[in-house]
Amino acid sequence: MIKIEKLHKSYPIGKDSLHVLKGIDLHIKEGEFVSIMGSSGSGKSTLLNIVGLLDVHDEGNYFLNGQLIKDMNEKKAALLRNKFLGFIFQSFNLISYKTALENVALPLYYKGISRKERLKTALDYLEKVGLKEWAEHLPNELSGGQKQRVAIARALVTKPKVVLADEPTGALDSTTTDSVMDLLKDINDEGMTVFVITHEEEVAEQTKRVVRLKDGLIISDEITAVGKSKAV
């Protein structure tokens, strides 16, 4: 599903440049549930953004669903994002003037689906994350956990092949963290590939594979206990 070879990424800082990813090799197959860990500044978000086509890499190869990602213009990237990818951000990134339901329905608008069907599907997904009653509320009327569940519903509504989550539980307490993780597990059980960044060992433990980054390199890549038990 995701295949990365010798990936490099630097950020220009004034005249110098900061080498963030220094040759990453990573292969994630369809249906995997992978977490990335690593200290702050190790390049986790950078990697996820490149995988999510929100940013571009400098060197190396990246294949998404078998397609080489190279010289991608914004239009093509938008199409691929809409078709294959769902995003969950630490800061939710809901549109503040749209209701929960409208936020969830928005990716379907860019897919060209009719309004009636959009709203119906969006409501189904809100129900799935347990927020059907909150459909008409604006984001600032929701708690952090509720917002993140709306964001998850929005990431899922297009039935993406890969869900990318950058510290989805970073802003949540332990109870809401558990409910979000349960949702991600359900998604994965339905066959979606889930790729999640986290700082919390308890979160990583619930995924099937943990990749650890340090200074722009992968230092370990292990199947978790959960992963082993599921594999059997």
Partner: protein, 410 residues
């Protein structure tokens, strides 16, 4: 291209961000309002000046004589100048190619009497062309014709108000009135845009007046309409030449304005033309200044608006929005706001102008101020186009920044 979903997105964005929308709309509405008022007031001024000259034909010229004020060739000052038929004939023959209408005038003041009603009126004896020189409008019957002149008929064309004075609501056409003791047949009744005075006048054939009152060939004034093919400058030259020519013919000092003068509408027209030219030049400068200010205003607001929305655009792109759809959304929103606001400014301006109406005519010479729709539509189109460009340039830029950078924006 009508995309209902896109419009729904735009209406929501406008509705949920009212302050922002009102701000950008206000600039446009204000610019168009100022523009409308400015043009309205100038057109009001222009109406006043045009209206001041409706009494006579635009191409009228009048040869007037009085007493000499300068000695000339041994002749004394204070000599009374008298025009005669031969002078009239000389002018109309000599300058035939430069003349469209021609008429001599003799002024009389007589009582006109019908049954028991009688009153004094100014009566002018004229040639048939005089109708066009004075812009007399025939309401009933007809004006004087060549046959009346040839036969020196005792016929009279009376003003609408004379008819009202003497006949009231009763018919007057075909009736006979007594003018200074002799009986005249009313052949026509006229009105005149020059005001009430002009409608308390009566016209009789020139020849009749010469025969009945003095039995001479005297003429009080010569009225001409210069050939409309002449340019204003040519017409002014013609007037000056005619003036010099007649002065020399009548032994008048070449500069004796009092003895003989030609009043030429061409000169007045030229003056008005220049004045209006300057006025319109000012309006164009001030008007385009207003528009430019409006354009700069919209551009600034759009830059601000798009900056504010960069993060939203990033989110939309992460969800699969193509750059073009973001640009189209912003531009459509900007055009919608400018159009509505422009229309609002225009309506408000037109409404204010209609309230002003003729109330400023007395003191400020502004009569019936209004704007031609063409000019306002033009101005609105300019603003819409600038709204389009003002929206397009920054939106295009915003839509092309990497989504990750857009998402990081705050």
């Amino acid at each position: 291209m009508f995309d209902l979903d896109r419009w729904r997105e735009i209406f929501q964005s406008i509705n949920k961000n009212r302050l922002r929308s009102v701000m950008s709309g206000f600039t446009v509405a204000f610019a168009i309002l100022l523009f409308t008022l400015l043009f309205g007031i100038v057109s009001g001024l222009s109406n006043t000046f045009k209206g001041a000259f409706v009494d006579d034909a635009q191409n009228a010229m009048f040869v007037r004589v009085w007493k000499t004020s300068k000695p000339y060739k041994g002749l004394q000052t204070g000599r009374r100048i008298q025009l005669k038929n031969k002078d009239y004939n000389y002018v109309t023959d000599e300058y035939a190619s430069k003349i469209q209408y021609q008429s001599a005038r003799i002024y009389k003041n007589f009582s006109i009497k019908y049954k028991n009603e009688a009153s004094n009126y100014s009566i002018t004896a004229v040639n048939p062309d005089h109708q066009f020189l004075e812009k007399t409008i025939i309401e009933e019957g007809r004006y004087l014709n060549e046959r009346d002149l040839n036969e020196a008929s005792k016929v009279i064309v009376i003003g609408r108000l004379i008819k009202k004075d003497l006949f009231g609501e009763r018919p007057a056409l075909g009736k006979r009135v007594n003018v200074n003791g002799s009986s005249y047949l009313i052949i026509g009744i006229f009105s005149d845009d020059g005001g009430d005075n002009e409608e308390r006048k009566a016209y009789i054939p020139l020849t009749t007046a010469q025969k009945m009152y003095g039995n001479n060939d005297y003429v009080s004034q010569i009225a001409l309409g210069y050939n409309p093919n002449l340019s204003l400058t040519e017409a002014v030259t013609f007037g000056n030449r005619l003036e010099r020519d007649l002065r020399s013919k009548l032994n008048i000092h070449p500069d004796d304005q009092s003895a003989l003068s030609v009043r030429n509408m061409a000169e007045a027209n030229k003056g008005i033309g220049q004045f209006m030219g300057i006025l319109y030049a000012i309006v164009i400068i001030v008007g385009s200044g207003t528009l430019v200010a409006g354009i700069i205003g919209i551009s600034n607001i759009m830059i601000f608006v798009i900056k504010e929305r960069t993060k939203e655009f990033g989110i939309r792109k992460a969800l699969g929005a193509k750059p073009a759809s973001i640009v189209a959304m912003v531009v459509q929103e900007s055009v919608l706001i400018t159009t509505l606001a422009g229309y609002l400014g225009l309506s408000l301006g037109t409404y204010i102008l209609s309230l002003i109406g003729d109330s400023l005519e007395e003191n400020y010479f502004i009569k019936d101020p209004s704007v031609s729709p063409g000019i306002v539509i033009g101005a609105t189109v300019v603003l819409i186009l600038s709204g389009l460009i003002a929206g397009y340039v920054p939106a295009k830029k915003a839509a092309n920044i990497k989504p990750i950078e857009a998402l990081r924006a705050d």
